[in-house]
């Protein structure tokens, strides 16, 4: 690399870092994304002089390259602009999987090329195998995460000994890696077997994890793809790929850990615990539940809401499923006209993606200063007139605070039960993701408003307007 290019790549690295920094604050986030995109554009043009076209194939390769970029651009743009806001997690999973697949292919092609011409240096084999392994795992894992978020086999699929099987696959891959590094460095059969095993491992790793834990999985796979890209950067000596991939890898790891901390579950429990499979948690659930379920009609609920001083709305995955974010905003506006102070309490892991609720409410034009984080709202929950829970379950279950035997004991929750009145909008009495009964539903100050969230909200809006 000549020094001009080196300077350009330093600038690119700075743009990526600034972009990520700006992405961490709501005021600057959009510019942050554009700055990172600008960095990418510069990196793209700076790489063009580095392309060494194979003699006799230059013309076809250029055509393939341009065609590939255009096809990818069209696919990416269609995906990005047609996806519904509620399906955002799937989209991120899909783009992430494509990146992982590309990283695995790049590493594999470099290996096969090296294997043809003779032996590959050990120092090259290591990052190659790493990028291939992590990239293909991220590829197949993201596909499963995508399907789970689309509602296909959402439940954790597991069987006794799955962790042992996964361990065996992992050991076999490590064995093959050792053989390729220290033995026959150019054995492409061993490499291809390893590739296939890595794809299977990605599937086997994500299948036992429940749909609601997909945020953590996607975040983890996102950081995996970053690391795979960094590995490829080592292989093809591209500094900007190393820096960009590493930044994504380490920030993604931190983000994953932050999410696990928000649920008070160690990452090992998320990945290997088969949480929410209903085993174990089932029996413990009924204990400690006292009181009766008290249904309420929309008219009465509307009265309670419009005469409250302060209303806190707790949205959950149910709101996303019902696509009810616009109705939620309308209700909040109507209540505002009645002089009610309305706030939204957002649990860090509500929905199927960190910040999922924020994105949906932002789409419905709820100003973000009306959205409160869990820690900000909890101290004042005693002074809330009505807490309206829309399709949230485990994140408001007081068992997390009170019942030591509960599987979610210790998870920080939004303390909805401390409000004067709690109205829970729910389709039925079915349990949430953790598969346990919610003690909140049986409290004396809780009323249940059964029905589809969208229909109930429309009834509430009409009733509030009339009052």
């Amino acid at each position: 690399m000549n020094s001009t290019l080196a300077f350009i790549f330093i600038g690119v690295a700075v743009l990526f870092i600034l972009g990520m920094k700006f992405l961490s604050s709501p005021k600057t986030a959009r510019n942050g994304n554009l700055i990172a995109a600008l960095g990418m554009l510069i990196a793209f043009f700076a790489t063009l002089p580095l392309l060494h076209f194979a003699p006799h194939h230059a013309k076809l390769n250029v055509i393939l390259m341009v065609a590939g970029i255009v096809v990818g651009l069209i696919l990416g743009a269609i995906g990005a602009y047609s996806v519904k806001m509620t399906a955002m997690p799937q989209m991120v999973a899909a783009f992430n999987g494509l990146g992982g697949g590309a990283a695995a292919l790049v590493a594999s092609l470099e290996f096969l090329r090296g294997a043809q011409t003779g032996s590959i240096a050990v120092i090259e084999t290591l990052p190659m195998l790493f990028a291939m392994l992590i990239g293909s795992l991220s590829f197949s894992g993201s596909i499963i995460a995508f399907l789970k978020l689309e509602g296909k086999f959402e439940k954790p699929y597991t069987f006794p000994g799955i962790n042992i099987l996964n361990g065996l696959i992992l050991l076999t891959m490590l064995g093959l890696a050792g053989y390729l590094i220290f033995g026959q460095a150019s054995n492409s059969t061993a490499f291809i077997v390893m590739f296939a095993l890595a794809l299977i491992f990605g599937v086997a790793m994500v299948m036992p994890i429940g749909g609601a834990d997909m945020p953590v999985v996607i975040s983890l796979l996102n950081s995996f793809t970053g690391l795979a890209v960094a590995g490829d950067g080592f292989v093809i000596h591209n500094l900007s790929m190393i820096v960009a991939g590493t930044l994504v890898g380490s920030s993604g790891t931190l983000l994953t850990l932050l999410m696990c901390r928000a649920m008070n579950r160690p990452i090992t429990n998320v990945l290997f615990g088969a949480f929410g499979s209903g085993s174990g948690g089932g029996e413990a659930s009924a204990e400690g539940v006292t009181g009766t379920v008290k249904p309420i009609q929309a008219d009465e609920a509307a009265l309670l809401l419009s005469y409250a001083q302060r209303v806190v709305i707790v949205p959950g995955y149910g709101m996303a499923v019902a696509q009810a974010q616009h109705q939620v905003r309308e209700l909040s506006d109507e209540l505002g006209k009645h002089g009610v102070e309305v706030q939204f309490a957002i649990h860090p892991v509500a929905g199927r993606m960190p910040g999922h609720m924020n994105v949906l409410l932002a789409e419905a034009n709820v100003p973000y200063d009306q959205l409160q984080e869990m820690d900000a709202i909890n101290p004042s929950m005693d002074r809330v007139g009505v807490c309206l829970v829309i399709g949230a379950n485990d994140v408001v279950n007081p068992a997390a605070r009170e019942q030591k035997s509960s599987p979610i004991y210790g998870m920080p929750i939004i303390e909805a039960d401390r409000a004067k009145i709690v109205i829970v909008m729910k389709r039925s009495m079915a349990t949430g993701f953790a598969g346990i009964q919610n003690h909140l539903f049986y409290r004396d100050n809780t009323r249940m408003l059964f029905g589809d969230a969208k229909a109930s909200l429309n009834a509430l809006i009409a009733a509030v307007k009339a009052s």
Partner: protein, 93 residues
């Protein structure tokens, strides 16, 4: 110092920068941040292009072509979808 050691040095520093730079992100922005970094690793497109350029048989050309499509969809889709999300975050007027 050899080039490999220097590169390793950069790698280690980048790990810490990655940790540091997002340590104070509010959960409000978790999704856009994940999606934005998702766009950044789309830089793998460049890797795909470098490999495809060198391709001298049809197998490598075909797989390199797929890698370029994947990388291109990742980088364009990642940044576009993030921008679409972020343009909805507005303060009260």
């Amino acid at each position: 110092m050899s080039e490999q050691i220097l590169i390793l040095f950069i790698f280690v520093l980048a790990v810490f920068v990655g940790f540091e730079v997002i340590s104070k992100v509010p959960s409000l922005l978790h999704t856009p941040l994940m999606s934005g970094t998702n766009g950044i690793h789309g830089i793998i497109l460049l890797g795909g292009m470098l490999v495809l350029a060198k391709a001298d048989n049809s197998l490598v050309q075909a797989l390199g072509f797929v890698a370029v499509i994947f990388g291109s969809a990742n980088v364009f889709g990642g940044f576009m979808v993030t921008d679409r999300m972020l343009q909805m975050f507005k303060k009260k007027k």
